[in-house]
Amino acid sequence: MLIKLRAPGWYRAALFDVIGFAFAFGLVVLIRTLMHEHPVLDGYAITTVALIAVPLFFLVGLGVADYWFYWAAGKRTRPEDHSAHGARTWRDYFRVNTDHKVIGIQYVVTSFFFLLIGGLLAMLMRAELAQPGMQFVTPEQYNGLFSVHASLLIFLFVIPVFAGLANFVLPLMIGAPDMAFPRLNALSFWLLPIAGLMMLASFLAPGGSFASGWTAYAPLSTSLPLGQTFFTLAVQFAGASSIATALNFLVTIITMRAPGMSFFRMPLLVWANFSTSLLVVIATPFIAASQFFVLLDRALGFQFFNAFVGAGKNGNVIMYQHVFWFYSHPAVYIMMLPGFGIISEVLAVKARKPIFGYRMMAFSLLAIVVLGFTVWAHHMFVSGMAPWIRIPMMVTTAIIAIPTGIKVFSWLATLWRGVLRLDTPMLFALGFLTMFTLGGISGVMLAMIPFDIHVSATYFIVAHIHYVLFGGSLFTIFAGVYYWFPKMTGRMFDDRLGKLHFWLTFIFFNITFGPMHLIGIQGMPRRVADYAQQFATWNLIISLASFGLGLSTLVFLYNMVASWRGGPRAAANPWRALTLEWQVSSPPPIFNFDAVPTVVGGPYEYGVPGAVHGIFKSPAEARPTGTIATSPTPE
């Protein structure tokens, strides 16, 4: 038992949790005694400190940092024996593992877990909204529902699931044996469940879960009950996780590409994650800061957002929104660009044609990154900020339609005269093309200030959100999960069930979110549990369709679970794709490649007779041109 408690793992993690709580408790009591605060025992303060300390202790207990501690102390680091590399049983997925393939699957499964929870909360919301009046929940519970719904789906589903898919395929695609910092990679993953469970745990807090929406505008968020603190801190953990992963991706892409893989021979998924990671590294600190402000206001009585201090205005309320949206607008591209990458992969392979205008595809990603930082205030057209800021923001916002348009049109041109395999990944990719265009166009409408002044914060926005996030991001995620399922699990999924899933989702999705445009323009506000009689019919239809949408997810779940357990074995390259991840077995061998492949051509040369992307000879035999010579990597 003692050995179990000393070795990294769940037992030690549990023990450290207890120690962490005791630490938080002691620290608060100590400080409050020293500062002569009464009462010395303050549950609010203890919870706040514990929410920071316990997760950190947990991580150390689980063993994410053992190596670093030895290293920092100058001791002999235990040579990693790589017994943890690769997963042999399902238990290995519950350990700290530094294999990017295991981490990728850990990420994807965890995120889908949070999709189900977040979706379930949406079902509760729709049940309440099915009829006007209050039926199942109180207004404060309802506010909690959509806040947790959105926070889970954004911070614990869309952002990490993309990181997870990329974690699995990106090193393979660029011919690397692993990510640049495998241990940091493991840490990034383990921060996630912490953030998610913290958000969910807020339901147990006195006063209910956080209830200020995922945007958590101050000063509402500084005045709500304890549950809000759970959000404030959970976002820090999720944010730290995304920054660490993004760093890892950038370094991996820059320093670990196979010989011959110049930037313009990288698959577009790699480009997409490169761009996304830039966004993450630059923007995410802003949401961290915004939540630090809220936390300081809440916990230590800072006055960032108190506009009524002393004699008059002093704190600045709108500052929160600027800081928040400076992250959260780029965040919507963080939630879309990796999807663009997935679509490029799927379309090229399934249409059997090279991506049309490859370079423009890459450049438009970068253009979106740059423009993405210049548009944040389009969420604030009616916020009372200085009116002149609206005009430049309208223009930059609308300009984003141009690089996005280039991408959409290039995809369409990729389809043109191809030989389209209409299997499940392809159907989701095509669904994405149409639905995202619709959502993007409603986005451009929103950019037009006078129109936004009418529809801001109505269901028109809710419609836009779901067309871009569900019809956009989620469709690409489904496409990607189906597309790489054979590679990840070594099994084929059931294509008929996949198609059924697509059609159910596609139809119910449109019945659910399409009418929201209409009731939004007619004036139905978002974030209300009760609404005027005139919207009753549409809301009933929406609610019924949304239940269908929820059920369609079960088809997907069943397909995934059943195929993983008993699907037919997958060949190494069932789609006849050129990119490197398909050139190794399914699932890939433990160290990805026996010898580093050499890249000799573009990734999408479909239809070019005899085209190859990578060759699997040792670099000595296939000497690349124009790259730095191979040298042994120092640790």
């Binding site: 690397a176 920054i243 320093t255 670990m256 960032f304 600045n316």
Partner: protein, 200 residues
Amino acid sequence: MEASAISHAEHHGPPPAHRSSRVEAPLLGMLLFIISEVMIFGAFFTAYFFIRVVNHNPWPAPGTTLPEAVAGVNTAILLSSSLTLHWSLVSVKSGNRFGLKAGIASTFLLGLTFLFVQINEYVHIGFAPYQSAQASIFYGLTGLHGAHVFIGLCLLLMVTIRAFRGHYSPESHRGMEVPGIYWHFVDIMWVVVYTTVYVL
């Protein structure tokens, strides 16, 4: 470094990756991390900007003063720690182990002194963060920086321990160069914070 080099020899691991860039991974990682750090300071400066400039609040809040002189001395302390750090790095490159140890230890101590003076300043400054938004910004910015000094000190402590245990050599000193970059960043950031908060 040595330790991991040994471990490579001892067991079979993944084949070494191809190096596709002249920049080394740890260095690049640190630079990217510093970009993130700059942005978080940027967010706090945004708050400063809104509360001081947009809101036209008097600075510092009426009835309070900021101890420019003490903080100035503290600035000097922190800047000199950058010099000692550089000395230590130059020493390790030329194989001067005494310079390495003395340099890194004095860097650590200077950093610790800075933090100590800063905490003392808080104790004696005469206003609390909850008294005004200006006070909140003051504590917010200097506190954020203090937290970074603390992180930097943790890194320096690691480097110091390892230096005293005989690690680092003229050939292999990445392990101290990378934390060193972070420490220089913390110093430069302090100059910016000092200028905006105390001087302007």
